[in-house]
Symmetry: C2
Subunit: 128 residues, 2 copies
């Protein structure tokens, strides 16, 4: 836990971007190392604050992982046997950063098809 | 990463339970220790497999945390100044376990009001 990264907790205007990626390269999405690196690079490029990760490799296949951000979280779960990856990006604050992060993912993973949905959370506090 | 907990990756029939808890006790939801304990106990009671967590305390207030499960994940983000907590429980497999886990949370946190939504993921694989 990187205590030096403490930030003031922002307002609860959550932007939860949920993506399902179909037709991914099974080899890529079965690599814990590759996926962790994609997340780390994306977080850095977009300028979000990484508070630490857990990534796990399943036997015989599949990876599951998350990265905690000062601005909320990223999680992913993969099923290489289906070429299928579930990605969640939850940010409070700058929605643009979440979208950029998603773009970075798609560029690296090049799925055949993407299902994308957005949930807003805490939005009733916008005008407090 | 507890390697001894390796399990075979199940089918991608994801059940994503998203809850927003309003009117929580600010003291409780500002305690990293309390929230981490609630998650750990809930996971254990429900019989899910804990692969590790990250919980972070913000200054001046707020907690953000994540527990990775063999069956997917739990995340929470709190805004004690609003008595507000965002909880995500994502499981693949037994939907009943996710609901039980949510019940455990609500019993411990006793919010005034709850917003609850469910997203299904990967359901097109059900009949493969």
């Amino acid at each position: 836990m990187k205590r030096e990264l403490l930030v003031e907790n922002p307002r609860p205007d959550g932007y939860h971007l949920m993506m399902e990626l179909y037709g991914c390269d099974p080899e890529k999405i079965n690599s814990r190392k590759f996926l962790h690196q994609v997340v780390k690079n994306a977080v850095k490029q977009v300028g979000l604050t990484n508070l630490g990760s857990r990534f796990h490799q399943f036997d015989p296949q599949g990876v599951t992982g998350f990265t905690l951000l000062a601005q909320s979280h990223i999680s992913l779960h993969t099923w290489p046997e289906y070429g299928y990856l579930v990605l969640d990006i939850f940010t409070c604050g700058d929605q643009h950063q979440a979208d950029l992060l998603a773009e970075h993912f798609l560029k690296r993973l090049r799925p055949d098809r993407v299902n994308r949905q957005v949930m807003r959370k805490g939005y009733q506090y916008f005008r407090d």
